[in-house]
Structure formats: structure tokens, C-alpha cells
């Protein structure tokens, strides 16, 4: 039986009088890939932040003692104007967490990071390269859970594909549990083992085949199923 890594009970997040998340209950088990979907403003990013205790919430969020969380936010949340090289950024986290040099080298090998990449300024990186740097950052400290917030927002299709392949490879190779916010339903269908959908109504959760039906998606997004071609592909 796989270990339960995360348990969420009656989670509620509100900003003033605006309730973003209400009565949210779900569990995540080791090795799973949970995709979180929903229309804009449904609380996907808020949920990821609450899971890391970065914002106030009501209810219970329990991570198992073995859980070590790595977080890849949307790239817009970082300052790319800093006079900082990739290597310096990663070294700062490694020193703060007191990681051994071998652990840093392991991450470089895992992601196949070249010396040119490591010595590049963060402001000179392309969108896909910057996401790779954020993934390297998240992998420092040997996380067994990775939280991704729309990892391919503003990337072209090829870069998008490469990032998702990388995430999938990490999961397959290291058994990492992934919690992923994504707008790309074909990616969700391809990679997720569970889907959590957030909307103004009651949240729902289940395997992709059950959740990503035309009827459920029309109910969730309020748009007809002709937009969801992946249903025919899969």
C-alpha cells in the first residue's frame, strides 16, 4: 500500500469577504501525479500556497513526516532583473539548507545542466531555460513532492513539451509525487493519475477518465465540449 503524503480536511481560504476555497477535502499518496484544474480565479495558486503554509487558511493540512516539498511557482513571481547567475542562485539555496557539494552536483547531472547554463545570468535565460532553473532550484534538498504552478505558462509548444517530459521523467525515475496546476487538459489527461477540479461549486476529484468528460468540463469551465479535442485523441 502506498503511503499517504498529504491530507487536506475542510480547507477554507478567504481574503476579506471573498471566499476562494471552501470545504476542500482530498488526499495525495506517494508516487501520484495530482493535477489541479479549474477556471481562472478558482483558487489553484491559492491552494498551492496554502499547502505550503504561505498564506493563512482554516481547516487542516497535514503533510507526513517524510514529505519534503519542492515548489516551482509561476515564473512571473521571480525577479529576473537581478545581477545573478544561475549557479549563484542555486548555491545560495544550497548553502542556506547546508547541502553537501555532491547533492548540488547530483541535481546538475539529473537535469543535464551545462556549465554555460549555470554561468548564464538569470535575465538572459529563455522562458524554457528559466523554468529549468526553477526546477533545479526546487530539486535542491531532495524533495519527494514537487508542486508546480503552471510550469509552462508563456512557453512555446516545444518548450512546454520538454518541461512536461522532464517532470514525467523525474517522477518515473525517482518516484517523486507531483502536484501540478495546469490549464493544458491534454497534458493532464496524459500524465495525471488523479485530477482535482476547483470551481465556484463543490470541488471534485477522480482519475482523468472520470473527470475530463465533456459534461464535467462544460460544467467546470462553462464552455461547450467542442474545445476539448483531447477527449477524441485519447
Amino acid at each position: 500500500m502506498t503511503d499517504r503524503l498529504l491530507s487536506v480536511r475542510d480547507l477554507r481560504v478567504a481574503f476579506g469577504s471573498r471566499v476562494v476555497l471552501r470545504e476542500l477535502n482530498f488526499e495525495v499518496y506517494s508516487g501520484e501525479c495530482l493535477a489541479i484544474i479549474g477556471p481562472n480565479g478558482s483558487g489553484k495558486t491559492v491552494l498551492l500556497k496554502a499547502l505550503q503554509h504561505l498564506i493563512p487558511y482554516e481547516g487542516e493540512i497535514h503533510w507526513s513526516q517524510e514529505a519534503r516539498v519542492g515548489y516551482v511557482p509561476q515564473s512571473v513571481a521571480a525577479d529576473r532583473q537581478l545581477p545573478l547567475r544561475v549557479r549563484e542562485l542555486l548555491a545560495a539555496k544550497a548553502r542556506f539548507l547546508r547541502l553537501a557539494d555532491q547533492e548540488i552536483e547530483q541535481v546538475f547531472l539529473e537535469l543535464n545542466l551545462s556549465p554555460e547554463f549555470l554561468n548564464a545570468g538569470i535575465g538572459t535565460l529563455s522562458g524554457g531555460q528559466f523554468q529549468k532553473a526553477l526546477i533545479a532550484f526546487a530539486l535542491l534538498g531532495h524533495p519527494n513532492v514537487l508542486l508546480f504552478d503552471e510550469p509552462t505558462a508563456s512557453l512555446d509548444e516545444l518548450s512546454e513539451e520538454r518541461i512536461y517530459e522532464l517532470i514525467h521523467r523525474l517522477q518515473q525515475r525517482s518516484g517523486i509525487t507531483v502536484i501540478l496546476v495546469s490549464h493544458d487538459l491534454s497534458v493532464v489527461y496524459r500524465y495525471a493519475s488523479q485530477v482535482l477540479c476547483l470551481s465556484k461549486g463543490k470541488p471534485c476529484m477522480g482519475p482523468p477518465k472520470e473527470i475530463l468528460t465533456p459534461e464535467m468540463l462544460e460544467d467546470l469551465y462553462g464552455a461547450p465540449h467542442k474545445y476539448y479535442r483531447h477527449i477524441e485523441e485519447h
Binding site: 500556497k49 515548489y71 521571480a78 545581477p83 549563484e88 539555496k93 539548507l97
Partner: protein, 255 residues
């Protein structure tokens, strides 16, 4: 120049290094406007000290640190110090300070003075600079993480609120050390301008901080020499700032 003047020159040099370090971080934090307000907070305390004849550093330091805590609370509550609040705090500090400071001491309070310094005064100032350098060096990694992404830094375990307060206090300490030579109006100028100059000239973090410190040091040394040997005035602050601004202008030629 006797020993007491040597202490002044040495402390000014140490202040320049602290200003370069602190200014680099302040520029990257995009808090230079709020930082400028902080030095003006010293003026009411300086004025009271001149009026009631006690140590200007104690008076200036008291209002400086109290005001820093106020600015920190403001930033925490609003996410940033708004332009309106900065304007109010700056104007109020300047107004109150100008009102309480005796007329004959106002120039010195605003623009500083190249005064003799006792050994005790030098050691206190040097200790303050050492504290500043130790904070920046010890908290370097947390500062980098927080500068890059407060969200990621918090997720990594950095206490951003405590780090911000620590930096603001260290900023105030730097301003306090420079008050003697630069005055309440210009003390933070030496924190702001060399950092801006260094940013024009460098693209890497270590070089950026080093160039900011070097530019600050050159500004102080050149300003002192020009003020004392050519202009023959003990009000060195304005000359130091002019030299610093000229160096910034030269740096613009790079691009």
C-alpha cells in the same frame, strides 16, 4: 592632520564600505525611495539633541530607529511603502526637525560636518560598521533568495519579515554612522548613488557589490580632499554627493 581627524577620515572610509554594501541590497530590493526617507527621520532627533545639548548621535539614532520600525510596519501592512506615505513621513520629519533645530546648528544637522572624532567615537562607529558587514555577509544567502522571489524564499524557510526588519535596522545603522559627515539630508545619498553607478557598470552580483563599495569609497575620499583642501569648508556632505553624482554620470557613458 592630528589623530582625531585621522579617526574621522578612517570612520568615513568604513562608512563608505558599509554604504556600498547596504546600497547594493537596497537597490536590488527596489526600496531606494523609502530608504531616502529613513535618513530624514534622524533630523527631529538631531534637532532635539542640539537644542537640549546632548549627543546628536543619540538623538538622531533614537528617531532614526523608531522611524525605521514605523516604516517597516507600514511596508508589512501595505506590501510596500506608498509614495503618499513616504512623502508624508519625509515632509513631516524635515518640518519637525527644521523647527526644533537651533538656527546656528541647522546647516550641520542637514549637511554634516568634518569634525574631530574621539577614539571612543571612532570605536563605536567602527563597531556599527562591523555589525553591518557581518549582517550582510551572514544573511547573504537569505537576502539573495528573498530578492529573487519572496515566495520561493518563504517556501525554502526564509523568514522574510524578520529579514526585512534586520536589513532596515542595518540600513539605519549605516545612516547613523554617516550622519556626522553627511547630515540628515544627504546621508542616504551615498547609499543610493554608488549602488546606481555600480548597477550601470556590472552584471554580476559580486562585482556589483564590490564596485558599489569602491565607488562609495572614491566619492568619500575625493569629496573630503576637495572640501578640505580646495573649497576649505568643513561641510563635506554636499561635495561627496556631487563627486558621487559625477561618477554616476560617467557610468552612463558605458552603454
Amino acid at each position: 592632520m592630528d589623530a582625531s581627524h585621522s579617526y574621522t577620515v578612517l570612520l568615513a572610509a568604513l562608512f563608505a564600505i558599509a554604504a556600498g554594501l547596504v546600497g547594493s541590497v537596497a537597490l536590488m530590493k527596489r526600496m531606494l525611495l523609502a530608504s531616502d526617507v529613513i535618513s530624514h527621520l534622524a533630523l527631529p532627533g538631531l534637532g532635539l539633541a542640539f537644542l537640549l545639548k546632548f549627543s546628536p548621535l543619540i538623538g538622531g539614532g533614537a528617531t532614526l530607529f523608531l522611524g525605521t520600525l514605523f516604516v517597516w510596519q507600514l511596508q508589512k501592512k501595505t506590501g510596500l511603502a506608498t509614495d503618499a506615505m513616504i512623502g508624508v513621513v519625509f515632509a513631516a520629519s524635515l518640518g519637525i526637525g527644521a523647527l526644533v533645530t537651533p538656527q546656528e546648528d541647522l546647516l550641520e544637522a542637514l549637511f554634516g560636518n568634518f569634525q574631530k572624532l574621539s577614539l571612543a567615537g571612532f570605536l563605536l562607529g567602527a563597531a556599527a560598521v562591523i555589525l553591518v558587514v557581518l549582517f550582510i555577509v551572514r544573511m547573504k544567502d537569505q537576502l539573495i533568495l528573498n530578492l529573487f522571489s519572496p515566495e520561493l524564499a518563504a517556501a525554502t524557510g526564509v523568514n522574510a519579515a524578520r529579514l526585512d526588519l534586520g536589513f532596515l535596522l542595518v540600513f539605519s545603522l549605516t545612516v547613523l554612522v554617516g550622519l556626522r559627515f553627511m547630515g540628515a539630508l544627504l546621508s542616504s545619498a551615498l547609499i543610493i548613488i554608488p549602488a546606481a553607478t555600480a548597477r550601470q557598470l556590472t552584471t554580476q552580483m559580486t562585482q556589483f557589490v564590490a564596485v558599489a563599495c569602491a565607488t562609495s569609497l572614491v566619492s568619500v575620499a575625493t569629496g573630503f580632499l576637495i572640501s578640505t583642501l580646495i573649497v576649505k569648508t568643513s561641510t563635506v556632505g554636499p561635495t561627496i554627493v556631487i563627486v558621487s553624482a559625477l561618477l554616476f554620470a560617467v557610468s552612463l557613458l558605458k552603454k
